[in-house]
């Protein structure tokens, strides 16, 4: 059930490969909230999302999360030889969602029977978004979701995000291009001297 999600960072420091990426980062997101992480390349935007997903451990601080998480990073995580619908179905079945509607939203329904390896860059990105949609999760973690998308798909993306928030979902996105998210918190990671 959506609307119960929560994501809270308290004094988080992140260290990768012996290098301190950021420290004392705090923010809190409740139902319907969104935040956009911005900053130059290599500053730790993706690491922040992986921290939120629980894939990395914070060097210090605590992360509280409630609700189910969906992560869209640069990897597609769909079996390349399978038709798109079947590959998405693997995750949808696990998450208890359906693929048909998600594919229609990102207008990939006409490619449902095409093997994943035949998809173009933008279509892959849209397939990732379909995976997120079909997951019925409370918290969306989107890493550069706008990369490779055409104008029409960008519009779909911002509608998806608005719709998810209206249903009480949470969105945390890392991007260096505007995503058209209204009233989003701005988490700016600064280059360290």
């Amino acid at each position: 059930m959506m609307g119960q999600g929560q994501l809270r960072f308290e004094d988080i420091s992140c260290q990768r490969g012996g290098r301190l990426l950021f420290e004392n980062l705090s923010f809190a997101l409740g139902p319907g909230d969104a935040a956009v992480v911005s900053g130059p390349n290599g500053i730790g935007k993706s690491s922040l999302l992986r921290l939120a997903a629980g894939l990395l451990m914070a060097a210090s601080g605590t992360i509280q999360r409630a609700g189910r998480i969906a992560l869209a990073d640069e990897s597609l995580a769909l079996d390349r030889h399978l038709p798109l619908q079947e590959a998405l179905g693997f995750w949808a079945k696990m998450d208890g969602g359906t693929t048909g509607k998600a594919l229609t939203v990102v207008s990939l329904d006409h490619l449902a029977q095409v093997p994943v390896r035949m998809l173009s860059t933008g279509q892959r990105k849209r397939a990732t978004l379909a995976r997120i949609l079909a997951s019925c999760s409370d918290i969306w973690l989107l890493d550069e979701p706008a990369n490779g998308l055409d104008l029409a798909s960008l519009e779909v993306l911002s509608q998806m995000i608005a719709c998810h928030r209206a249903c009480g979902g949470i969105v945390l996105a890392a991007s260096h291009q505007p995503l058209g998210i209204e009233q989003a918190q701005d988490i700016r990671l600064e280059a360290r001297p």
Binding site: A53, G54, L55, L56, A70, M94
Partner: protein, 215 residues
């Protein structure tokens, strides 16, 4: 449990659907075919040494798909997606192990029949070989998954996998070949014990390796 079954079923489909399972079998039969050419057509010699050769072939056959067990899933983010959904690495590895064994164990047991004929093993020997392989191949599959997890993301993983696998698999080989002896009952029990140990150890060791690779 649903996730476990879905994962194992996916691996089995991968193994059978894309010819992955036929490769170890062809390799296994190839060894059985070539060995008589190497040592000559002496039936007694073949019958005496053939069982051990088939065990070596089984060991190497289990190692063949090692670069396709974990590394592709790690590269394409499948393991991350499972972790985000709260699936533990240990149960992922267990599912991988089940999928790998189902992908190469049963076909190998079937291929052992013509291979035994090629090496002039008699019926009692064939029964002992099949029994040993039935007990030993799960251990070999577990070790392959462990090595696959340890070498995932490393360049030249294939050669390294062989180097890592062989010392770990030596006990299985010794007791497996030993169980072919007419008085090999105790070797069979030790084979079962070694196999169980490998299966029990793999989820934890391979799970830790997958988590470490994420950093």
């Amino acid at each position: 449990m649903k996730t476990f079954l879905a994962l194992a079923a996916r691996d089995v489909r991968l193994a059978y659907g894309r010819g992955g399972a036929t490769l170890p079998i062809i390799f296994f039969l190839l060894v059985a075919t070539l060995y008589p050419f190497g040592v000559g057509p002496d039936g007694n010699l073949l019958a005496k040494t053939g069982g051990g050769v088939l065990w070596i072939a089984a060991l190497l056959a289990s190692l063949l798909p090692v670069d396709r067990l974990i590394a592709p899933d790690m590269d394409q983010g499948l393991l991350d997606q499972l972790a985000v959904r709260g699936v533990s690495e240990e149960s992922i590895v267990l599912a991988k192990f089940a999928g790998h064994w189902l992908g190469f164990g049963p076909p190998l047991l079937i291929a052992a029949v013509p291979a035994a004929a090629l090496l002039r093993l008699d019926a009692t020997m064939l029964v002992r070989l099949e029994l040993g392989l039935l007990i030993g191949t799960p251990g070999l599959a577990a070790l392959s998954v462990l090595i696959a997890a340890l070498t995932a993301g490393v360049r030249g993983a294939g050669a390294l996998a062989g180097l890592l696998m062989l010392p770990l698999a030596v006990p299985l080989l010794i007791f497996g070949a030993g169980s072919l002896d007419p008085y090999g009952g105790s070797a069979l029990k030790l084979l079962a014990a070694t196999s169980l140990l490998a299966i029990a150890m793999t989820p934890f060791a391979a799970g830790a390796a997958i988590r470490a690779a994420r950093e």
